[in-house]
């Protein structure tokens, strides 16, 4: 208020002294300039009253748009580019130096059920949604630099429009899948002392030791929590974006977008590593989410404690009624 009056006074003073002095004395800023500069420096709006129902229209000038622009065009592009390409580079180097991680002693031919149908179905629902959400999101960040020059403006708009629909609709099965994932797997993903030892041993990837692990090892627990917690934040911020200005105002929308897109690109990088190790990176790993049956030797190598438990369960299993002891007849 004080500044506004000062600005007004300054404007009035110049006016009164004009034109003789105005040409020689340094010009004081006008009220408009003063308010624009102050809003910019303080990150506030120039706000007023409006006679139409759209409350957003009462903001005359919102200088934060400038920061949001810098975020979207510069920060996000760099962070996203480095995260995604950097992770691909790391995985390539890893692959070239260590090759595919083999099953020690080869396949035994005996298998254990690792994930049942519900677990696998839910995993693939979340995974396929994630891939499409990720690609359609990245398209908004990088598409105009990469895809647009290749396919041309009309085709690019068609792709982006479908991407937007997919992004909006797949948000729902994705979120549902995250909730189910949390419910069915949280009990096996509570961090414990064994995970610290697992990380100290480099997860068996970097050194040559074989750290012990239960159903999920330290790295998998990390993937779980990145997915569940990161996914929750991405989902909440995403819903704020899907329902524009419904729950929040301009700052809220800009902030939601910043959180959503930054966390998303980081999650995409993390998931690239997860996809690598679950498919081409490790022999025997894909079966867990493919058929659900993993080789016993793979299980002993990577989830020794879990394999022991499962085998013990098998031994103490209650006999089905009518079963005869072996050699009884």
């Amino acid at each position: 208020m004080k500044l506004r009056i000062l600005g007004l006074l300054a404007a009035l003073l110049i006016g009164a002294a004009a034109p003789a002095i105005a040409q020689t004395a340094p010009r004081a800023p006008s009220m408009a300039e003063e308010m624009e500069v102050q809003a910019l420096l303080r990150g506030t709006h120039i706000q007023g009253r409006i006679s139409i129902p759209d409350e957003k229209a009462a903001t005359l000038i919102q200088p934060e748009g400038r920061e949001w622009r810098a975020f979207h065009n510069v920060t996000l592009a760099w962070v996203g580019g480095i995260a995604v390409l950097g992770m691909l580079a790391i995985l390539t180097v890893f692959r070239l130096s260590k090759g595919r991680i083999p099953i020690e002693g080869g396949r035994s031919g005996r298998t254990l059920l690792r994930f049942n149908v519900l677990e696998r179905g839910n995993h693939w629902m979340v995974a396929s949604c994630f891939i499409i959400l990720g690609l359609s999101g990245l398209n908004l960040t990088f598409g105009r630099h990469i895809l647009l020059p290749i396919v041309g403006p009309e085709a690019f708009t068609a792709i982006s429009q479908w991407g937007k629909y997919a992004h909006n609709f797949l948000a729902f099965p994705f979120t549902l899948g995250l909730v189910v994932m949390l419910l069915i797997w949280v009990k096996d993903n509570i961090p414990n002392a064994r995970d610290i030892a697992w990380f100290k041993a480099g997860g068996g990837l970097i050194g040559n030791e074989h750290p012990q692990a239960g159903r999920f090892n330290g790295g998998q627990k990390m993937v779980f929590w990145i997915t569940v917690l990161g996914g929750a934040v991405v989902a909440v911020s995403g819903y704020l974006l899907v329902f524009p200005f419904f729950f929040t105002g301009m700052e809220g929308m800009q902030l939601s977008h910043i959180i959503h897109s930054l966390l998303s690109v980081l999650m995409i990088a993390a998931m690239l590593a997860h996809i690598y190790i679950g498919s081409v990176g490790m022999d025997g790993a894909f079966d867990a989410m493919g058929t659900g049956q993993v080789d016993l030797n793979w299980a002993k190598q990577h989830h020794g404690l879990w394999a022991q438990e499962e085998l013990a369960k098998g031994r103490t299993a209650v006999q089905p009624p009518g079963a005869k002891a072996s050699g009884a007849d």
Binding site: A11, G65, L140, T157, S160, F169
Partner: protein, 198 residues
């Protein structure tokens, strides 16, 4: 070629909303969309001013910079226009625009936005000048007919000026010098990184 700009002399604006009405009518802008609006700051207090605001056709336009489908273009008159056939209604231009100019019809699923609409400086869009197709999507193209934006032409107090930036700045400068005061060219610093030196 001229560098087209808007300039609002807040000392003259009486908040009659004629510019808003003229714009709505000239381009048959649908309900819920306002290409131009009048905002009153310091309402009822000393220093109260009403400012008619629309797209300022910025230099280095923020909307164009962030658009994920790059559907904006700048005409030879420095008017910032966009192609509705390419827009996907993502709303990013509204987050970046300092003046709240981009508007969206509510369409489709959730609160999702239809194709963005904003002030065209009465210069239509990428369709052929003054065709029905252009009119339906963007409104009339007065610039192609050699006329200036209707909002400013209609303004009874001539608070709202539209046209070649040099010319409207000199009109404003002369007014301020003659009457001895003025609150400055609203939005100019933000849109054009310059102000009108008095």
């Amino acid at each position: 070629m001229a560098r087209m700009k808007f300039l609002l002399d807040a000392e003259r604006c009486i908040e009659c909303n004629a510019c808003v009405t003229a714009c709505k009518n000239e381009h048959e802008v649908p309900w819920g969309i306002n290409r131009r609006r009048v905002v009153t700051i310091n309402d009822g207090k000393p220093g109260e001013r009403s400012i008619s605001m629309a797209c300022m056709h910025c230099t280095d336009a923020p909307c164009a910079a962030v658009c994920p489908v790059s559907c904006f273009y700048t005409t030879a008159d420095a008017v910032v226009l966009h192609d509705k056939d390419l827009c996907i209604g993502c709303g990013y231009c509204f987050y970046a625009c300092p003046f709240g100019a981009p508007q969206y019809p509510r369409l489709g699923n959730f609160g999702s936005r239809g194709k963005m609409d904003k002030c065209t400086f009465c210069a239509g869009g990428p369709q052929a000048d003054n065709t029905q197709a252009e009119y339906i999507q963007y409104g009339s193209n007065r610039l192609a007919e050699g006329k200036l934006p209707l909002c400013a032409e209609m303004c009874s107090t001539k608070a709202l000026l539209a046209g070649d930036g040099e010319i409207i700045a000199s009109i404003y400068r002369e007014r301020v010098q003659r009457r001895g005061y003025g609150t400055g060219a609203w939005g100019w610093r933000t849109a054009y990184r310059e102000t009108v030196a008095i």
